[in-house]
């Protein structure tokens, strides 16, 4: 079975989105715990309260993207194991 371009594109979007969300999750986490440093490095843009709000609202997309990422990876693996 050949991969159609659409699932490939979806997969790519999911993988890159997950990477982006993970990075933002890390940065906003530091924005809470090390707020003085992060505020200075971001020229006052990422304040502690903004970091909190972003961090608190990111866990749902993070979980969804992570699950989708795992599901797609498993499907890919299965296709490799069971040739059609």
């Amino acid at each position: 079975m050949k991969n159609t371009p659409t699932p490939d594109l979806v997969k790519r979007i999911i993988h890159w989105s997950l990477l982006t969300v993970t990075v933002i999750y890390f940065i906003t986490g530091f924005g809470i715990s090390e707020f003085r440093t992060v505020e200075a490095l971001s020229f006052g843009l990422l304040t502690k309260s903004l970091a909190f709000k972003m961090h608190n609202s990111l866990w749902v997309p993070f979980i969804v993207l992570l699950v989708l990422h795992i599901v797609f990876a498993l499907i890919r693996k299965r296709r490799k194991v069971v040739p059609s």
């Binding site: 809470i32 715990s33 707020f35 003085r36 304040t47 502690k48 309260s49 903004l50 909190f52």
Partner: protein, 226 residues
Amino acid sequence: MNRLILGAAVLSVISMLAVAISGCGAGSSMDKTEELEPVEIRDYEGEKLSSANDFRENSIEGPQQVEIESYRLEIAGLVENPESYTYDEALDSHQHYQKVVTVNCVEGWSATILWEGLLVRELLEESNPLPDAKVVIFHAYDGYTTSLPLDYIMNNDIIMAYKMNEITLPAERGFPFQLVAESKWGYKWIKWITKIELSEDEDYLGYWESRGYSNTADLDKGFFEK
């Protein structure tokens, strides 16, 4: 031979007496009890306490070193008699209170401590708040501010701590005074208090409150809830 043995015996008795006398002398100089630096307690009436080191340092300007010789605690604003206390005056002229309270930080950690301090209510009563006063604004050495309703201060036993777990507050924990704002989120627990100001401005927002945190800061609500 007998003389030799007798001489040795006399000598040993004399030397033992000398040792005993010198020992007695040393004993009399140790009668005075010297107080050592107190050690933090970790248990109070069966309750486990956190340590003074269990806190995360999250102040806006880092730990402050307050010089106690020049330190003044001001009571100002809408009061009949503004006051200015030195550290010793504040401690010597007021009743001291102890209570175990847990501080809950918005970052997710908490610490249960035996606090010892002065009742803020008693400090304010000495200055006679004017009828227009509605809000108590606390100012800190590092420029941090926060506010609480006057009713909250007057109707609850809110203390300003100078000791935690029976040791004097360390600089990083807010020496000389930290507010023990029980049932409020940690950002209301202002450290390094220098001034208590009474105001009629019910919309006053402190440092974190002006950056989006709840002004009521009730623990049973989210800290972004209005």
